[in-house]
């Protein structure tokens, strides 16, 4: 082996060690939620194409068959400011086209059938920007961020505050996080279709979490979140959609991480139990396997297969055939997202570390069906979504 190739090999290993050490500072922070600030700046970009399957012609009475096709471009900068503080800037730009369910009716056999929005479909863009800072103390971290998102017919402004504290010899971290969002909607073609001209809603969300290191190889986190929404919660683009003016949501999440030394791999498992006062309950469980392959190839590569199962019950006021003869103020919605259903997702991601550059590429397939539901489905929705997405991302650290 020549001197140069030995030198290059040592240099490469040294660079990886430095990266691994700086990564350790970052990941310890994310493992415990309260630790050291980042030691280097990282710029991340990610582009994703999200595509919903077309509906079949026998499922639709009126409108476009093609549903949403969305391109999402995300940006993030994380940079140290002082020894004890860091700055984070996030941005995203989404462009959307396609059609959305407008109302439901019965076909000649009395079965529910969906009617999609007009033949011209929907075109919209969404831009979001948020900026935040973190301050790190010996055992505490304080985060504050503000942001704004804008669509052609929707604006949201939000603020988020977080605090974490480590105790028990840094084996346990408790955290509290609060977010307030003020949203405004001003539907397009409001006069033409007799839609509400403008409306607003406010969401206040609080989460409490406890993370605990179980042993050298595993950690567990449990969290409770409560979200209250008040204001206009209906969908103004549906022909008949009336929902209550307030909603309370409760979620209990549990996460477990374990590292398998011999396999050089980590298993992630998450479970969420959810309930809201629309009458919806749900279970979400997902697993991902993070397999390192650097033993077999000359650079750091990880592949991550994942699977997710979701099931929910229906809202108290969900119907799969709109009833236009009922009291117009009585809660009623045929939105498929309020139906009882189950969904199965499977995905895979590849992550390559090339010194200061990381490349991530992956895809996911998700299919929602009434028959996947663990809950009783008395009124199956005809508009459940099947989607695929592919993405590629780059992270550059300096």
């Amino acid at each position: 082996m020549s001197k140069r190739s030995v030198h290059n090999k040592i240099k490469k290993r040294y660079s990886r060690s430095i990266l691994a050490l700086s990564g350790t500072a970052l990941t310890l922070s994310s493992m415990s939620y309260a630790d050291a600030p980042p030691t280097q700046s990282t710029v991340s970009i990610k582009s994703t194409n999200y595509q919903e399957d077309d509906l079949l012609s026998n499922e639709v009475l009126f409108g476009e068959l093609s549903r949403y096709d969305i391109d999402v471009h995300q940006f993030q900068l994380v940079t140290p400011v002082t020894r004890n503080s860091s700055l984070q800037v996030n941005g995203s730009y989404d462009s959307l086209s396609g059609a959305s369910p407008w109302f439901t009716s019965a076909n000649s056999e009395g079965e529910p059938i969906v009617n999609l929005s007009g033949a011209s479909g929907i075109y919209d863009t969404r831009r979001e920007l948020s900026i935040g800072g973190s301050y790190y103390l010996e055992n505490e971290t304080v985060n504050l961020s503000i942001g704004r998102s804008a669509e052609n017919d929707y604006n949201a402004a939000f603020i988020n505050f977080g605090f974490t504290h480590q105790l028990n010899n840094r084996l346990t971290t408790i955290g509290v996080n609060t977010s307030i969002s003020n949203d405004e909607i001003f539907p397009t073609d409001a006069e033409k279709f007799n839609r509400i001209k403008s409306a607003s809603k406010r969401s206040v969300s609080t989460a409490l979490s406890i993370s605990h290191i179980i042993n050298r190889f595993s950690a567990y986190q449990t969290a409770i979140s409560v979200t209250n929404q008040k204001g206009f919660l209906s969908d103004p683009y549906k022909l008949r959609d009336v929902r209550p003016n307030s909603k309370s949501q409760y979620a209990w999440t549990n996460s477990f991480r374990i590292f398998f030394e011999k396999m050089d791999a980590a298993l992630h498992s998450n479970y969420r139990l959810y309930h809201d006062d629309f009458g919806i309950g749900s279970h979400t469980v997902d697993f991902s396997w993070h397999q390192n392959l650097s033993t077999y190839i000359p650079f750091d590569l990880r592949f991550v297969p994942s699977i997710r199962y979701y099931t929910q019950s229906s809202a108290n006021f969900f119907t799969n055939i709109d009833d236009f003869s009922s009291d117009p103020l009585a809660p009623q919605s045929s939105d498929y997202r309020l139906a009882a259903f189950g969904a199965i997702s499977a995905g895979i991601n590849f992550i390559a570390d090339l010194n200061n550059l990381r490349i991530t590429a992956g895809g996911e397939r998700d299919q929602a069906k009434s028959k996947y539901s663990a809950y009783n489905v008395s009124r199956p929705s005809t508009a459940l979504v099947r989607f695929s997405r592919i993405s590629i991302g780059f992270d550059f650290s300096y």
Binding site: G162, T178, A207, A251, T253, S282, T284
Partner: protein, 75 residues
Amino acid sequence: MTLIQKHILGLLVLLSTLNLTACVEVRAWEKGYLAKEEMAWNPDILEDALAKHIFFSKEASSGSSSAAGGGCGCN
């Protein structure tokens, strides 16, 4: 016992098991595996944000260990 009650019971058993194993002392220099990026709660922040946004807009449920951010016209 309903399906939901069975799920809750199963979770409580799981949590109790984890608590029993939670008494091991782990020193700072023994946290090497825990510090690996693949052991982070959210190894890819952008992917996590996007996945949450997609499922938030396609399902009725939301909520996690962090509070929800800004709303969107998608839900």
